[in-house]
Symmetry: C2
Subunit: 277 residues, 2 copies
């Protein structure tokens, strides 16, 4: 249950001169596969295109990517598809090559085995010491410079801790190492503004749209650590987990799942089971 396509051909390796290796000069997407189909495909392609525009990398033809994705996903009930798009090979030096040949790597991975309780009763989390630097040009997109997340995720090994929450260099709350963060305070849904750092998740969009449809008021805003104390409910989202309620941050317990969280969790699952590519 795995496979890799490098520029459309089965392969296990990448040229050592590739700029993803040299500089992290590229983008990625992590996509859930269900019954042989990638979920929320057009949303992932829209984010990849936005990242390409931001970095000045040529967006591959989504039809080609979809064909390759379907080839890898064929017959898979549940799997994770990862797409890496690099600017390609280039000489030594930061300057992008004049005529770049972007490289795409599609790989299929086993579906992670998380306990069912993570969805039903929520997850325990911690606050990471590793901070996120601010850079508006890189904020929102899913680029390959991920050392901050690697260092944050290396801070704990206890399997009971499912995720770590990250602050930026100025102490603002941003996201989890692999997920977006939502708070519910007095009936209002809140999620951190991602204009200076963080990844704008596909499932974050799904939640915000669901909140809009339900008439749940929401704000995308600046949040600090103390806002965690003021919230009654917390939850995390990403394209693989969908929505996990949070039952604990450090030593503080939360009711999980809270009532707003439960509604939105149902909407997320409905969206995932409904969408076709």
């Amino acid at each position: 249950m795995s496979g890799i396509l490098v520029n459309g051909l089965p392969g296990e390796s990448v040229p050592a001169t590739d700029r993803a290796i040299q500089y992290g000069d590229g983008l990625f997407e992590t996509i859930a596969v269900r019954r042989g189909r990638p979920e929320l495909w057009s949303a992932h392609m829209a984010r990849l295109r936005k990242g390409c525009e931001r970095l000045g990398i040529g967006m591959p033809d989504p039809a080609v990517l979809l064909r390759e994705a379907l080839q890898l996903a064929r017959g898979q009930e549940r799997a994770v598809l990862k797409i890496i798009l690099s600017r390609g090979s280039g000489g030594r030096g930061y300057r992008p090559p004049d005529t770049p040949s972007p490289l795409r790597i599609l790989s299929l991975h086993p579906w992670p085995e998380w306990p069912r309780e993570f969805w039903l009763k929520g997850v325990a989390t911690r606050i990471c010491a590793t901070r996120l630097g601010r850079n508006g040009q890189l904020a929102g997109i899913k680029h390959l410079n991920r050392l901050e997340q690697v260092l944050a995720r290396a801070e704990w090994r206890e399997p009971a801790i499912a995720e770590g929450l990250m602050l930026d260099s100025e102490g603002m709350l941003v996201e989890g190492t692999m997920s977006n963060l939502f708070l519910v305070r007095d009936g209002v849904l809140q999620t951190p503004d991602l204009s200076r750092c963080g990844v704008a998740g596909i499932m974050r969009e799904v939640v915000l749209e669901a909140a809009g449809r339900r008439g749940i008021p929401y704000e995308i805003t600046s949040l600090r650590r103390k806002d965690l104390e003021l919230a009654q409910e917390l939850f995390l989202t990403n394209s693989i987990i969908g929505l996990w309620p949070v039952r604990r941050v450090g030593r503080r317990d939360y009711a999980a799942p809270g009532s707003v969280t439960s509604l939105l969790q149902k909407d997320v699952e409905d969206t995932r089971s409904r969408v076709s590519t």
Copy 2:
């Protein structure tokens, strides 16, 4: 005139699962080769070791790296040696593998052909719009997350502009895209503090030591864009160029080389011709 060793063996490719590709999870060094020997080898190894400690990657045996470096550099009058050290392959997910196998890539590149005037009369530079995010954990080391430098270097294509100067997210002056920056103001040498971002260059250390030996007062300090206006001399350093005087930043001209710059340029060249590995 080139060659690549991947974990000591001639090769052109890297496993697609490597974490340098996935996350930029690794370090690099760029080293001048003269007459078959890498320059300032022990200083480069010391910085690589510091980076390994910071990222939690096992430092390879420097004797092995030196053997491989000498193998590639044999018979080369002038060349550039690049060492990439990745955390190695791992599963999908930010968490570092429990038993990592770091990957090393040594590659040899042609010596860049810059005009002799760059050293004799100085270079023209610009101020980049791309900013550097602040992260003390990643500051100083030469890690593989270099999208900020890539975007900054993509801002201009005029060959007459040799380098771009970068500010951090709060407007502090940090470095060039590929070099460290020095100012001389009223006889005092100044260089930006790199505790929040930037790469602590090997040649920067050489310059600071030379200034100490000569009794030139220096400070490692917070500098802003306006400090460029107050300086009489500017120069740039890195392991390949050595020291370039700056004759222009945007529309502001500087005497180049200034008198302090000339003294330190001579010291840099003396150090480079004297050192053996």
